[in-house]
């Protein structure tokens, strides 16, 4: 239906009157703004895009989270500028293909990912998908708080204060009772992911070497090894993970996007892809100064990267780096805990919208908050093996992704679900190819774990 015709200023009443909720009303207000912007004169396209952007940029900058940025940092410090720069760009292009399908699915069906899986494939497969999501989300949330604690620890903030303060931020942002406010607040926070760019520039990068890396996929110091394979998996896991599917589809639904908005949704995803890839590559460039100067980075943990960078990027660069790690964790805590809450709400058929006030959808907000609180508490336990969780969390994401991708491909090819908007041959080729690639990388990782002598240490 033409939105301009649905604007109440243009057209009269509908034939029937079903129950209208607070959530419907807020979503309609967002659509009213879009309809008005579409009729506006100059800068119409920009106004419409400003209103429609959000889920795509958020999902990609949300996935530039603490473990991802630390994986990039470890990559730059151990391997310098070379193979991994173009490789990271490729992983983000994979992410774009996957998230485009997710966005389209949400805009066409107006239903969340968990809800569709349960509806179409039944609770048996649905709970498997939920299990993968919730295990991955919880472990990832733990690593986000590790990042928050480490980032603020650089400035001397005690762990209890940084972790508790972050939970309060999640609470404040989530309980505005309005998706739009939540989205814009989180986007504002996510903009600080750009802090890794000046940190990279302060490391005085060698532009010729960067250009050579993109053209040649090299060098790769040390060749194929166990540690290289682990970082490779972690870098893939930094761009394609199950929570991104659940989060973006639900937020597209909560925002109220329709099939008419698919073009803007693609642009939103593309901008998110390019921004996140740029910031991830900047992180590798920043820490490659450690590699260039022969600093052994194998034992470096979260905050120690910023500390180790001081001689090469100065106090300002290190400060930006530490703030970036904090921001990466903070935004991801908001988006990942929201994805858990959306999925639970959809499966349990309780209210699951940020447009609902907390008194109307308390289970949704309770899950959102409690998932953050439990992860935060784990980070505060003395001597917990947190560094291992950081190492494996992205690997687990890669391993859990193939089944999630197969469900996604089944849904976007389902004519009952997607109608005329179902996948074309190219989307299926790319999507299927990504699933096969992820399975192959996972199996290779498994074989080299069982038989480590097959490749170097």
């Amino acid at each position: 239906m033409d939105e301009a015709k649905r604007d109440p200023e243009v057209q009269g009443s509908p034939p029937s009157a079903p129950r209208i909720t607070h959530e419907d009303r807020d979503r309609a207000l967002d659509r009213l703004a879009v309809a008005r912007a579409r009729r506006a004169g100059s800068l119409r396209g920009l106004r419409v895009f400003w209103l429609l952007l959000g889920p795509g940029i958020l999902v990609f900058l949300g996935e530039n989270d603490a473990p991802s940025m630390l994986s990039y940092a470890a990559t730059g410090a151990r391997f310098g500028i070379g193979f991994f720069l173009p490789f990271v760009l490729l992983t983000f292009l994979m992410g774009f293909v996957v998230q485009e399908m997710t966005m389209r699915l949400g805009a066409v069906t107006h239903r969340g990912h968990a809800e569709l899986i349960f509806d179409r494939f039944g609770p048996f497969w649905g709970w498997f998908a939920m299990g993968d999501l919730l295990l991955g989300n919880f472990l990832t949330l733990v690593t986000e708080f590790i990042g928050i604690r480490a980032g603020l620890g650089f400035f001397g903030v005690p762990p209890l204060v940084s972790v508790a303060g972050s939970v309060v931020v999640v609470l404040v942002v989530a309980t505005t009772g309005r998706y739009w406010t939540w989205e814009r607040a989180t986007l504002t926070l996510a903009a600080f992911n750009a802090l890794f760019v000046p940190a990279a520039l302060l490391s005085h990068p060698h532009w010729g070497a960067i250009g050579h890396a993109f053209l040649s996929f090299g060098p790769l110091p040390g060749g194929l090894s166990g540690s290289m394979l682990l970082l490779l998996m972690a870098d893939i896991g930094a761009t394609v993970t199950p929570w991104m599917l659940f989060f973006q589809q639900s937020s597209v639904v909560d925002k109220g996007l329709t099939p008419r908005d698919i073009g803007s949704g693609r642009l939103d995803n593309l901008i998110g892809t390019l921004l996140a890839a740029g910031f991830g590559i900047a992180t590798i460039i920043a820490t490659s100064s450690l590699y260039r100067h022969g600093v052994t980075a194998d034992a470096l943990k979260a905050a120690q990267f910023a500390q180790a960078l001081i001689p090469f990027v100065g106090h300002i660069g290190a400060t930006l780096f530490a703030l970036g790690i904090f921001e990466a964790g903070m935004v991801a805590v908001i988006t990942i805990s929201t994805s858990s809450a959306y999925a639970f709400g959809e499966v349990l058929h309780t209210g699951h919208s940020l447009n609902r006030p907390p008194r109307e959808a308390w289970p949704f907000y309770a899950i959102l908050l409690s998932s953050s609180v439990f992860a935060a508490l784990l980070v505060l336990i003395p001597n917990a093996p947190l560094e291992y969780i950081v190492l494996i969390v992205n690997v687990i994401a890669v391993l859990a992704m193939p089944p999630a991708l197969v469900f996604l491909l089944l849904l976007v090819n389902d004519p009952v679900v997607m109608g005329e908007h179902r996948n074309g041959i190219w989307a299926n080729l790319f999507g299927g190819g990504i699933a096969v690639f992820l399975i192959a990388v996972g199996i290779f990782y498994g074989i080299t774990t069982v038989f480590p002598r097959l490749i170097g240490s």
């Binding site: 509908p14 419907d24 703004a33 400003w50 509806d119 179409r120 291992y388 391993l399 009952v416």
Partner: protein
């Protein structure tokens, strides 16, 4: 920049005009897509992927325990 409207500026009729039919909460609560059945090949694929995930998670758990024990 375009402004968002206020809640009191929009009544029920306007909501129905602005949202697609299946965007309404009441429609989503009452209408469910039917269950689809899988071919034997798809069932085998899904089971294969499930076994793959479980096996890999066990591998990771063993690797983590091994690494921690070796500290």
């Amino acid at each position: 920049m375009p402004r968002l409207g206020r809640r009191d500026e929009i009544d029920s009729e306007a909501v129905l005009e602005l949202l697609e039919d299946d965007q309404l909460v009441s429609a989503k609560e009452s209408v469910h897509l039917g269950r689809r059945s899988f071919s034997p090949a798809m069932n085998a694929t899904l089971w294969g992927l499930r076994v793959y995930v479980v096996l890999m998670l066990v591998l990771i758990a063993v690797e983590v325990v091994h690494t921690i024990a070796g500290r």
